[in-house]
Symmetry: C2
């Protein structure tokens, strides 16, 4: 079924560009391309085998390991894109911030003018040369199949959440307090993170990343006023700086109350978490490619409930360009066979039918 559909796509469009990149250019493709967040991750036995022998930071900072981990899901499944194995904390050490993983990020909370002023803004080439190398290696490996490679970064306010709080947190209350107590310092920090994020993403694109995703994983903490002041200008600057360099995907989690604000961002695609149906976002933002938004818990269901849930997302994504994905990262408990099944469902869904 998949192969019939794929050949009909090739013959009718006559294009060789990967389906994922066509969808990011706004094309209402006859089938939806699919990749999944954290596809190179803990649900894969081959990932756990690498992890048993190295710590997380080594895995991120060793180009051969990062390349290998990036390729693992692409070897196993017919995914339509790969995403370089890394972490949103990756650019921070070059700024002078020590980050450890235990297993979530742990760092010295950054809350003083002295500490924020001391943050370096490294040259593009200094930020993460190991990641550039990993991207080059991975691109070379992906060459035969033409599978596109995605680079990524954390949005400035999401990075600031970890930097100010000092770790992940359910409520990030110290961070939320800091935005009120020290707004000027917060803006200084966000300026620096914005500049570094631009350089970091440009470095990834220069190394071969064919699309980028900006992860605002903690957008959902904020009300609209806060988000407009502390997130939007910086997100807009990062995304604008990449205009024309590579297609840009913006992800916000828990942001059902913010899409009317987020729609103003300059990007080709918006990645939607599982909470809001894509058709509602399509009505609000008719021009953009939508990415998402299957609940990652759907992969923990039965094959039948998975099909039901995936078809609902596929139908909800019709009427415009759609990149199929989960609404958030794949859970480590996921049986890889369920992901194989999902890819099959997505590849078998003909978007030219009404």
């Amino acid at each position: 079924m998949t192969s019939v559909l794929e050949s009909s796509i090739t013959s009718s469009t006559g294009q060789n560009m990967a389906l994922f990149l066509r969808a990011l250019r706004g094309e209402n493709t006859p089938r939806a391309p699919i990749w999944v967040m954290r596809q190179a991750g803990r649900y894969l036995p081959e990932y756990m085998a690498v992890k048993a022998k190295s710590n997380f930071l080594e895995m991120v900072r060793t180009p051969e390991l990062a390349c290998e981990i990036t390729l693992q899901p692409v070897r196993r499944f017919p995914l339509d894109a790969a995403i370089i194995f890394s972490d949103i904390m990756t650019p921070l050490p070059a700024m002078g911030v020590q980050v450890e993983f235990n297993p979530g990020p742990q760092l010295e909370p950054l809350r003083t003018k002295t500490a924020i002023d001391a943050l370096r803004i490294p040259d593009q080439a200094e930020i993460a040369p190991f990641l550039e190398k990993a991207i080059q290696l991975t691109r070379r490996e992906l060459e035969p199949t033409g599978t596109p490679l995605i680079g990524f970064a954390g949005a400035p306010l999401t990075l600031a959440a970890y930097l100010i709080q000092g770790s992940g947190s359910k409520e990030f209350e110290d961070f939320r307090a800091f935005l009120r107590l020290e707004p000027a310092l917060a803006h200084t920090l966000l300026e620096k993170l914005t500049e570094v994020s631009i350089r970091y993403l440009k470095a990834q694109i220069a190394a071969g990343a064919q699309a980028i995703q900006l992860f605002d994983s903690w957008a959902g903490l904020h009300d609209e006023t806060t988000y407009r002041e502390f997130a939007m200008p910086y997100n807009a600057r990062v995304l604008s700086a990449l205009e024309g360099l590579a297609p840009r995907i913006f992800l916000a989690v828990g942001a059902g109350h913010l899409y009317h604000v987020i729609q103003e961002l300059p990007c080709e695609a918006l990645s939607v978490d599982w909470r809001t149906p894509l058709e509602r976002i399509r009505q609000l933002i008719p021009g953009k490619t939508l990415q998402g938004n299957l609940d990652p818990a759907a992969l923990l269901g039965t094959p039948e409930t998975l099909e039901r849930d995936a078809l609902r997302v596929l139908k909800s994504g019709m009427g415009g360009a759609h990149v199929f994905n989960l609404g958030h990262g794949i859970f480590r408990q996921t049986n890889p066979d369920m992901l194989a099944r999902l890819i099959d469902i997505v590849h078998g869904f003909d978007r030219t039918q009404s």
Copy 2:
């Protein structure tokens, strides 16, 4: 300033009913009543003094202690309502579920037909006689000031989240998977929780609770389809069963994507978290009293930012009945003086001015 306003209210309306209850009846009161979620809690030194000598379950299950803790914030601050000190897990032991706190709830995950079938549906008087006693004691103590007392319960799907997951969780993935793997068992569990919640809330009202709040603290985990299937019918049944017995407040957290669904619930008031401006909810649901919705982080700011943030909420709440509250529980780091300041700001805000 407060006293001038209060006396003008009394003289202009000639009513003796507490401001909080008037607002719950839909009255666009000249000033907003205020109480705050977790007002009897860890930010108060007098609470910590009780906690140093007893564990959490003892505090909940000893009427004199629960009464004392309930009264602590009302003695210290001119709050417009008290809420009985308890926990949403309180009705579970009478159903046969062991709950420990460490510090969050810990229980044996409930995932089999045998375990769910074994859950008891206790008589109203059996569920929490200690809580009924605590409510009676507290009402007696509050008599001289006329401060109304609120009772509460967890919404069935939020209770089910803890019961199935076995504890609090960032993602509740086992619970979300269970709704797909065992929907019939989930419905059986929700039926039982609904019946017990109705009896439990009726017991609180019979003991003297003058309003009730149903806490759907984990509503925000779910997409609309899931929420319509597993939450709405049970929330509606609990709330309907209390019609005419006491005013009903429904709270959903992280539910910015669900208010168009939640608006169908039979209740007098909707408690909104800090993410969505009250005026937007008012447009969607013109008839209901709105409760909320200051970001609890506002109390960790400066007196100036607190005033700015509180005034924004007060203005956003105009045009209909408003009970001022936080959008979520008060943080334990809060300086009690900041809550005093907030109450002063709310009491000083004249809602009859445009």
